[in-house]
């Protein structure tokens, strides 16, 4: 029972991070039908941006309030990562629009390799660490065989994720930008006939996806306290799996898929073997694609009028 509760907490924490990344995959796929292979590396990049901002704030500028530094880092990383992704879309994907279908996909793989190599060159191949923060731990149960704990970090991760997802949901459902975004997803040509600047809307989709990935990056970095140039790949694939499991193109699906992948991963590690936790995620990807290609909340293709 204790193990179960503990893994539930750990799984939801991890799942929040996957969910935030998964939204970027699902939105880009929804609007231009492309699997953005570089998205995991954008996430990794954001963790490095967060790391640098954190070091600058606490060490160079001598800021002592960790919560304040965290908020600034979060906002700064969102903005800077969004700018990066905006530029990536302009340089690597937009010129290929209207080209053959695989072209942007190949370009995205190239961009993924470029980003991880770029970070390796400028930051070095070794792990970068930050001092631990928000380390306070709450003991939920005591005296049993095993104390179930909830760390401040975990509360923070779930809370930040929930707040940002709520804001994001409002943006997509209630604002004209979100409406334009959904319109482009359904019928780009019709959206243009109504005066929607489709290229701009696609740009903004990349910007929003990157901002959410940056939130995940900041949370990831503060959770593990360490980041490496190769950290884009595995979380990227898991978040992609989350998007596929939830139903690619579906925003609630991405969040649900993220939480499920997080839970499956920690329960797999706890009850079977942590050696195979990545294999579990990859197997789910394969199984979903074979048996349930439209995912849990995805819509079957027939609705494409």
């Amino acid at each position: 029972m204790e193990v179960f509760l503990q893994q539930l907490i750990n799984g939801l924490t991890l799942g929040s991070i996957y969910g935030l990344i998964a939204i970027g995959y699902t939105m880009v796929f929804g609007i231009i039908g492309m699997v953005n292979f570089a998205h995991g590396d954008v996430f990794m990049l954001s963790a490095f941006i967060a790391l640098m901002l954190f070091v600058v704030l606490t060490q160079l500028l001598g800021m002592t309030s960790i919560p304040l530094a965290f908020v600034i880092v979060l906002i700064g990383a969102m903005v800077l990562t969004a700018l990066w992704n905006w530029a990536i879309e302009r340089v690597a994907y937009r010129p290929l629009r209207g080209s053959f279908r695989l072209a942007p996909l190949i370009s995205a793989i190239g961009m993924s390799i470029f980003l991880s190599n770029f970070v390796q060159v400028v930051q070095g191949p070794r792990n970068k660490t930050i001092p631990p923060m928000f380390d306070k731990v709450i003991h939920l149960t005591t005296g049993g065989t095993y104390d179930v704990t909830l760390s401040l970090k975990q509360i923070l991760i779930v809370l930040v994720t929930a707040v940002l997802l709520a804001g994001f949901w409002y943006l997509v459902q209630k604002t004209s930008l979100g409406r334009a975004q959904r319109a482009c997803e359904q019928d780009r040509r019709m959206a243009a006939l109504l005066g929607i600047d489709v290229d701009r809307t696609i740009s903004l989709t990349f910007v929003i996806g990157a901002a959410l990935a940056a939130v995940a990056g900041v949370l990831y970095m503060s959770y593990y306290g360490v980041v490496n140039f190769s950290d884009g790949f595995i979380p990227g694939v898991k978040a992609f799996t989350a998007a596929v499991l939830g139903g690619i193109g579906s925003l609630p699906g991405a969040v649900l898929g993220g939480l499920l992948i997080g839970l499956i991963e920690v329960f797999w590690s706890a009850y079977f073997s942590s050696d195979y936790k990545d294999v579990a995620a990859f197997s789910i990807l394969a199984l979903t694609l074979i048996f349930m290609p439209s995912g849990l909340l995805g819509r079957p293709e027939i609705e494409k009028v």
């Binding site: 409406r179 959904r182 359904q186 019928d187 600047d197």
Partner: protein
């Protein structure tokens, strides 16, 4: 209503310059030519109809006006301005609206959201007012306001497509086969609405139809397109009287 008197005054001054002028337009799909040099005018305040058999190139012309696909040769001008090379969304922002072939309703959006999409270009400045206006025209839409576009009947979708186009307060409304697949009663309702918009608001309409009889009766002037070229033009009455038109587009159950 002041807006309307202005337009009438303007019209008197610029009587000869058409609102929409199409000159020598050629459009291709890859290597295949779909429009082989089309000339066509729409004057402000007119209802102009384009009739022609399936595959003649009517929808291609409607979309070429919006630059999607783009004309490879020729010039399209709107209100005296060359729009041939403008991006599609900028053409829309000049107050040209289209209810396209197949209606293209956003299926997963509600009726209300579809109408909001129509009002995007003028930043919702007249949204509530215009909403009442299109609901007066098509009361059915008001009942369906929270329904998803994709779940509505063909006639309701057509009304929504026209209403969505009207939400942008267009100076020129393009309608591509609004009667296709609809019951006669609904067709009448839609044609009556178009007539009313033209008479009471002075809205300029360019209408593509296979339902030639109704379209020519409604229109001030008409054009006939065959295989990507205009073969005849004249007032609606003139075209209706022509034996070639009668033989090709009116006899055999088209009306």
């Amino acid at each position: 209503m002041t807006a309307m008197t202005q337009t009438l005054a303007e019209r008197a001054v610029t009587r000869k310059a058409p609102l929409l002028a199409i000159r020598g337009v050629k459009t291709y799909y890859g290597k295949i030519v779909a429009l082989k040099g089309v000339d066509l005018d729409v004057q402000e305040g007119e209802i102009v109809t384009l009739i022609g058999a399936n595959g003649a190139g009517k929808s291609t012309l409607m979309m070429t006006i919006f630059g999607s696909p783009r004309a490879r040769e020729g010039v399209i001008s709107f209100d005296g301005r060359d729009i041939t090379r403008l991006p599609t969304h900028e053409i829309a922002r000049l107050s040209i609206a289209q209810s396209p072939e197949g209606r293209r309703i956003f299926a997963r959006m509600t009726v209300y959201e579809n109408l909001q999409m129509g009002a995007s270009i003028n930043k919702f400045a007249y949204f509530d007012q215009d909403l009442e206006r299109v609901f007066a025209l098509f009361p059915r839409l008001k009942e369906r306001i929270n329904q998803r576009g994709g779940t509505m009947s063909g006639g309701e979708q057509q009304m929504l497509a026209i209403a969505r186009a009207l939400m942008s307060r267009p100076r020129l409304l393009l309608l591509d086969e609004p009667s296709l697949g609809l019951a006669p009663l609904i067709v009448k309702q839609i044609f009556d609405a178009v007539k009313l918009l033209n008479k009471s608001e002075g809205l300029t309409v360019f209408l593509v139809e296979q339902n030639a009889f109704h379209a020519l009766k409604l229109a001030d002037r008409g054009y006939v397109m065959v295989n990507g070229v205009i073969t005849m033009s004249g007032t609606g009455r003139e075209l209706l009287a022509k034996p070639e038109v009668r033989a090709a587009y009116l006899e055999g159950g088209h009306h």
